[in-house]
């Protein structure tokens, strides 16, 4: 009698759980889920992220089933085998073990492990050992405390903090391969909707690829603790149509705009030693410590994505980056209001 009751309990729970899981999976996989979060790992938009998503769904079903079975047994035991009022004081029958049960609950988990392992190994291989097509876009990412340098060597320029890549058609994929380097400590590049994270480790080059299938802005951030401002080392990936991407490349390839109206500001940029850390291509400023500013005004944000690129924020940042990112490696600049305005006016011409 006990056996029948427990079997129907189990079957019922299994059915209920399957319904719940199916609904949850559908909800999570709903393409509108980006509204839930722009960094939702269950809203993949690139092949590596899709592969991970499918594997994780399969895994969740297996793990969910295990949970349902074991939890049901626990819940049943806790209810059915309670000591009740009016129970006699005799001890229950002592059962010391059962070899058959031990065997059963060893063999079954081993089989589950085999299945999970094989499906996992397949995805690892598919993502990590993917053959790189000859026409892939190649960008070298150099992580710094606390900003991202993006070198488009095949196009001959460097930019910072906002990565642009072309959208990829699933039928004729045009992936972007990222070479991952670090200028200082360990970092990690994580844009959840596009791929799993890969670390950037000094003297240990890594590589990853993405092939985003929709245009738009994809967000992420550094995912390996790298110091004081780890939290604000944000990532912005702009996925553009081929035409928009090519246009952006062309714009970035140009040397800095040279507007005579801001000559005073440009001179101050040298005099106040900004050039020691920053590059403005086409001028004597070739510093590599901080972000490349050649096309600063083509970016939506400053401070590695942490603050919108507005005239007011730019001035606040230059005066003291600690206003937005205390612990940032750019020191506060000792400038009078006048000097600050002139330098900012110069930077605002760098489209």
């Amino acid at each position: 009698m006990q056996k029948k009751a427990s079997t129907s309990w189990l079957r019922l729970s299994a059915q209920v759980f399957s319904v719940i899981l199916a609904t949850a999976t559908a909800a999570l996989a709903d393409a509108r889920q980006p509204a839930l979060s722009p960094t939702n790992i269950f809203a993949p938009d690139s092949t590596p992220a899709h592969s991970i998503f499918r594997l994780s769904m399969f895994g969740l079903e297996v793990e969910g089933a295990i949970f349902v079975v074991v939890f049901s047994l626990l819940a049943y035991a806790v209810v059915k085998f309670r000591q009740r009022k009016g129970d006699d004081d005799l001890e229950p029958p002592q059962v010391y073990g059962s070899s058959q049960m031990e065997l059963a609950w060893t063999v079954l988990p081993v089989l589950i492990v085999v299945v999970l392992f094989l499906s996992t190994a397949q995805v690892i291989h598919r993502v990590q050992d993917a053959k790189r097509p000859a026409d892939a876009i190649q960008v070298t990412v150099v992580a710094h405390q606390f900003w991202w340098e993006y070198r488009y060597d095949q196009y001959g320029f460097t930019t910072s903090n906002e990565l642009h890549v072309p959208v990829s058609d699933p039928k004729h994929p045009t992936p972007t391969y990222l070479s991952l380097l670090s200028a200082d400590v360990d970092h990690s590049f994580w844009v959840p909707r596009l791929a799993g994270k890969t670390d950037l480790i000094p003297n240990h080059p890594n590589s990853m690829w993405i092939d985003p299938q929709e245009t738009g802005l994809f967000l992420g951030q550094c995912a390996q603790y790298c110091g004081t401002q780890h939290a604000k080392m944000l990532i912005r990936v702009y996925v553009q149509s081929r035409e928009d991407f090519d246009r952006w490349i062309h714009e970035q390839q140009q040397p800095a705009v040279s507007n005579p109206a801001v000559a005073a500001g440009r001179a101050l940029f040298q005099a106040k030693l900004c050039f020691i850390c920053h590059t403005v291509r086409g001028t004597p400023a070739v510093g590599k410590v901080g972000p490349d500013l050649t096309h600063l005004m083509s970016r939506d944000t400053i401070g590695s994505g942490s603050v919108p690129n507005t005239p007011e924020n730019l001035r606040k940042w230059i005066r003291d980056p600690g206003t937005f990112k205390p612990g940032s490696l750019m020191p506060p600049q000792n400038l009078t209001d006048d000097e600050l305005n002139q330098i900012a006016a110069y930077l605002e011409t760098l489209r």
Binding site: S37, L55, V70, F71, F81, V95, H125, S188, G220
Partner: protein
């Protein structure tokens, strides 16, 4: 038959009492000192956690500076592992193992005391850093490199000053204490069991401490070696981890995790021991599958040495390297699952009494199951490429450490406090503690998985609004507050019951292992006459002479 112990009131010179405890080599007193020490640091850890949770309750909060927050999570993790979990488990082990095996003390009583004091010194060193260097409100010179202190963040270039050195030295010192304790456990269990107690008849808690001791001996050395290399780099011109000079940052990771992963098994295995003692007594049944439990524990001990790089899936190991560690990590889940099934089978067909120790054990089973399953999710490396270093991982390991380890430690408290003090902890307060703690735990850590799934990395002092993380963080913070209340109730219970608790007698739970054959608390020599046993449950044999265990084992 239970007998009352008559309270004796002897007024002693306070200095004499202090000296007695400071100079003691009695395993019971040392055990209690370990436990009290750990409880103090548990409260400190809780305060650190509460501060962090307040900061994270809202996006872009300015409650804490980034420097203060980064020191807090470093201290929280380091304290939790080395100055709460390890000492409290060494404490219970020290107190109980000799009693359970019918011995009068540990094999090396003076090494025992030395090990405790070294561990204690480590904690003092670590927290001394808070009062050194910079302003107290910013956390002084406390380390801020995370509890795993990855190179090259710890190099002089990126960690000027001495904050990292406090981390290194406090753990080096505590590591000496851990090794001493482990040597003692292994020697005691192997050579000081009473007559008739073969290895196959000793309590499972004793087995667990044996495996734990062996694991500590193997696993602390890589950490000590890495820390020595780090000191060489920082002070005498070494370049082990200096990538500009050909050193390797990944090597630190390997050394650290070869220590770090078995370390978490060091923590959980004695907790399996608590559960293996408590569930049978409160189910009124012998432990189901004793030999399988032993085999599973030993397997876990060995396999756990081969899984470490699942903490490094995102580091850029080749695909076959990643796949190997996926396999070993999944394999270690098999014996762990076997243990869950054996505990369930012990409860099955029993007459379960839900006193507070059993409540905590049942919650452990539920939570350890879930934590184990999220562990399997993380073991599938591609899933870890998304979830690694995110709040999903933080939720997973807190599920195991709080939901698993701390819950069983509370169970152990309610179960063995009567033996240690002669008084029962209050059951009503215990139930309040339990239910509030369950509520707070699940509020905090269930919902913490979600920001991880939505892309929130760990070790961030703040986060952007608009990522969908805020609500879940707020819920986690509220849960932390509830847990704090529960812990306060527990502390009150512990203190109040010491003075006003009901007299416990020798054997308040009607249990079956040797520690319940002594007065509560036991005299310093433990047993007037060293016992001799014929089965795994010597007191069952005495209480059931018509149906003794040795007829069936």
């Amino acid at each position: 038959m239970a007998s009352e112990s008559i309270p004796l009131t002897i007024h002693r010179n306070p200095l004499a009492v202090v000296y007695d405890w400071a100079a003691t080599v009695d395993h019971k007193k040392i055990g209690i000192m370990y436990i009290v020490y750990a409880l103090l640091f548990l409260v400190v850890m809780g305060i650190e956690a509460m501060l962090m949770r307040i900061q994270l309750a809202h996006a872009n909060s300015t409650f804490l500076s980034p420097q203060a927050f980064n020191r807090l999570f470093t201290l929280h993790g380091t304290t939790g592992i080395f100055f709460v979990a390890m000492p409290i488990l060494f404490g219970f082990g020290n107190y109980l193992v000799p009693l359970m095996i019918g011995a009068r003390d540990m094999a090396f009583p003076r090494l025992n005391a030395f090990s405790f004091w070294m561990t204690a010194l480590g904690g003092v060193l670590l927290y001394g850093s808070v009062f050194a260097g910079g302003p107290l409100s910013q956390g002084g010179s406390a380390p801020d490199v995370g509890w795993f202190a990855y190179a090259p963040l710890t190099s002089p270039a990126f960690s000027p000053g001495h904050s990292t050195d406090y981390w290194t030295l406090s753990l080096l010192v505590a590591g000496v204490g851990s090794i001493g304790a482990a040597v003692n456990f292994v020697a005691t269990i192997l050579s000081m069991r009473c007559k008739g107690m073969t290895l196959g008849r000793m309590p499972l808690f004793s087995w667990m401490n044996l495996v734990m001791g062996g694991l500590v001996l193997v696993t602390i050395s890589p950490l000590t070696a890495a820390q020595i290399m780090l000191m060489v780099d920082r002070y005498v011109g070494g370049h082990f981890f200096d990538t500009d000079a050909g050193g390797s940052v990944v090597m630190w990771m390997h050394f650290f995790w070869i220590f770090g992963h078995p370390e978490v098994y060091v923590l959980i295995i004695p907790c399996f021991g608590f559960v293996s003692e408590i569930i049978p007594v409160f189910s009124r049944k012998a432990m189901f599958g004793y030999p399988a439990m032993v085999a599973a524990t030993v397997s876990i001990g060995f396999v756990s040495l081969g899984v470490w790089a699942h903490h490094m899936f995102t580091v850029g190991m080749p695909s076959y390297g990643n796949a190997f560690f996926v396999l070993t990590t999944m394999v270690v889940a098999v014996p762990t699952g076997i243990k869950i099934f054996n505990w369930l089978a012990t409860m099955w067909g029993g007459k379960i009494r839900f006193a507070t120790p059993m409540l905590f054990c049942v919650a452990f089973l539920f939570q350890f199951l879930i934590g184990g399953l999220t562990g399997i999710m993380l073991a599938t490396a591609p899933f870890d490429w998304q979830l690694g270093n995110s709040y999903f991982v933080v939720a997973h390991f807190h599920y195991i450490i709080v939901g698993g380890i701390l819950f069983t430690i509370f169970a152990a408290f309610y179960y063995w406090y009567p033996k240690m003090t002669g008084r029962m902890l209050d059951e009503t307060l215990g139930k309040w503690h339990f239910w509030l703690f369950v509520l707070g735990f699940h509020l905090t850590f269930d919902f913490m998985h979600i920001p991880g799934l939505l892309g929130m990395p760990r070790r961030v002092y703040t986060y952007e609004a608009g990522r969908g993380w805020e609500t879940w963080n707020l819920i986690s913070t509220i849960g932390a507050g509830v847990q704090a209340i529960a812990i306060l109730i527990f502390v009150y219970n512990v203190v109040r019951s010491y003075f006003k608790g009901a007299a416990a007698g020798n054997d308040p739970w009607d249990a079956w292992t040797l520690e319940w054959a002594t007065p509560s608390p036991p005299p310093h020599y433990n047993f007037a006459k060293v016992p001799s046993v014929q089965s795994r449950r010597p007191l069952w044999d005495i209480k059931h002479p018509e149906d003794p265990d040795w007829r069936y084992e």
